[in-house]
């Protein structure tokens, strides 16, 4: 497999930012929803899951990128999955050893990171075609974007559903928590709400672009 032209392009800030905003894995690409919704009933859990996913993204992207010229095309998916599963197993042990509480909260969903389409997508579409430093930067960007999305959902759910943020109470004793927010339906509602926000923001951007073009036309 010869090196492709895209490998010669330099790493830009765009490589990183693209994963965070434009191609945000959750809100734009609608990938990785399962583990995302399940553990975002609090901001701490959201960060925990996001951090674990970043670790797996970095590890697997690095290894896939390093081995990209060695893995034959026919077995690449199988290889990627084994590599991803390895890092997921490692992060599972790591979280268990670091914090029993977080491990109890995230539970089986740590291991479900392995079927998070975001990671396989990164390996297949980016890490297998770029050198390691670039792959790492891109993976980190996507991971940050993923964590950001989880945090958006998790914070809102925690604030509304428990009256706290990161465990710190925000409102007084008389606050009646909107309990449904920390239950499954809340996960759907809040994510739907954020999707709405993103769609609206995108539409506004489109409209602005069109207006700008028209203005240019009218002027020139």
């Amino acid at each position: 497999m010869a090196t492709l032209p895209s490998e010669k392009k330099p790493i830009t800030l765009d490589t990183f930012l693209r994963g965070v905003w434009e191609e945000n894995p959750v809100f734009v690409m609608l990938l990785g929803l399962c583990p995302a919704l399940a553990v975002t009933n609090s901001a701490v859990n959201a960060i925990g899951m996001g951090g674990a996913t970043i670790f797996v993204l970095l590890g697997s992207s690095a290894l896939v990128s390093l081995l990209r010229n060695v893995i034959p095309k026919q077995v690449r998916i199988a290889s990627y999955i084994v590599i991803i599963a390895t890092f997921v197993t490692i992060v599972d042990y790591a979280i268990h050893a670091l914090s029993l509480e977080l491990y109890g909260a995230l539970g089986a969903f740590i291991q479900l990171i392995v079927v998070n389409c975001v990671i396989l997508g990164r390996a297949e579409s980016f890490a297998s075609k770029h050198r390691i430093t670039k792959s790492l930067v891109n993976a980190f960007g996507v991971g940050v974007g993923f964590t950001f999305a989880l945090l958006c959902v998790g914070s809102v759910r925690e604030i509304l559903g428990a009256g706290t943020l990161f465990g710190f109470p925000l409102f007084g004793e008389s606050f009646q928590p909107w309990v449904v927010m920390v239950l499954p339906p809340g996960g759907f509602f809040v994510t739907g709400g954020w999707l709405l926000v993103f769609a609206w923001w995108k539409e506004r951007k489109q409209r602005k672009l069109v207006e700008q073009e028209e203005a240019l036309h009218a002027a020139g």
């Binding site: 497999m1 690409m29 990938l31 290894l63 081995l67 060695v70 893995i71 034959p72 095309k73 026919q74 077995v75 998916i77 199988a78 290889s79 999955i81 084994v82 590599i83 599963a85 390895t86 890092f87 197993t89 490692i90 042990y93 790591a94 268990h96 050893a97 029993l100 109890g104 389409c117 396989l120 997508g121 297949e124 579409s125 559903g161 428990a162 928590p177 309990v179 920390v182 239950l183």
Partner: protein, 254 residues
Amino acid sequence: MTTEANPSVATHSEANHSGVGAPISPMPSPLVLIRTLGLIAMIAGLLVVLAYQITDPIIKEKELLALEKAVFEVIPGADEKTATRVSYALSSHGLKRLDDDSAADANLFAVYDSSGELVGLAMQGAAQGYSDVVRTLFAYNPECQCIDGLTVLKSTDTPGFGDKKTVEHNAKFMANFKDLSVEVTPDKKAIAHPIETVKHGAKTEPWQVDAMSGATFSSRGIGNGLRAATDELVPLIQQNLSELESVPKTEVSK
């Protein structure tokens, strides 16, 4: 193993299947495939085993500490600084003392004070609550033949109704477990009156648990867990009481 699994790999799968528009590399010999998969398996295995070796002792230690903390918390009169915890596996075959390595198999925990006298016993209970199983750790006092302490280990029931914080803050409900009678029959083979969970406000007997108002299922989960555990273990405890009552002083040095 091919997966046209997600949008970002769609194009490549098409190339795989139709072979149109993409350069097809010749199928490598089986040896190359095996070599690659073998290499990856080796790297993967190495990484996982390494991680396991590093984290396993840490995990075991943390879980043991958490368990010990819960046991000391639930048994009234247990002084963390001077008392010792011993784990046992209790069955119809008898009492077996476990060391820390096999503590995971323990179904009975005993706390002894600095002179080797038994302070209290603790057991786990688990039964279906509202949404899932509720796990508890409770203290049994063989002298009064009653349960005199309870802590919720794990509950996924509705926050504000059956979750750990709400339950443990509910003073009226927790009062159930200060003196819950689990007397055995004279032949020490069974519980005279198994624990019963009754509706809020309907408690008349010392072996009944007065359910939380508005959280009957969670209350039943806790009560039934206690009942199952005591039905099985308390008669055995009473039968093996002399063995449990004290340990040699040398074993309780801290």
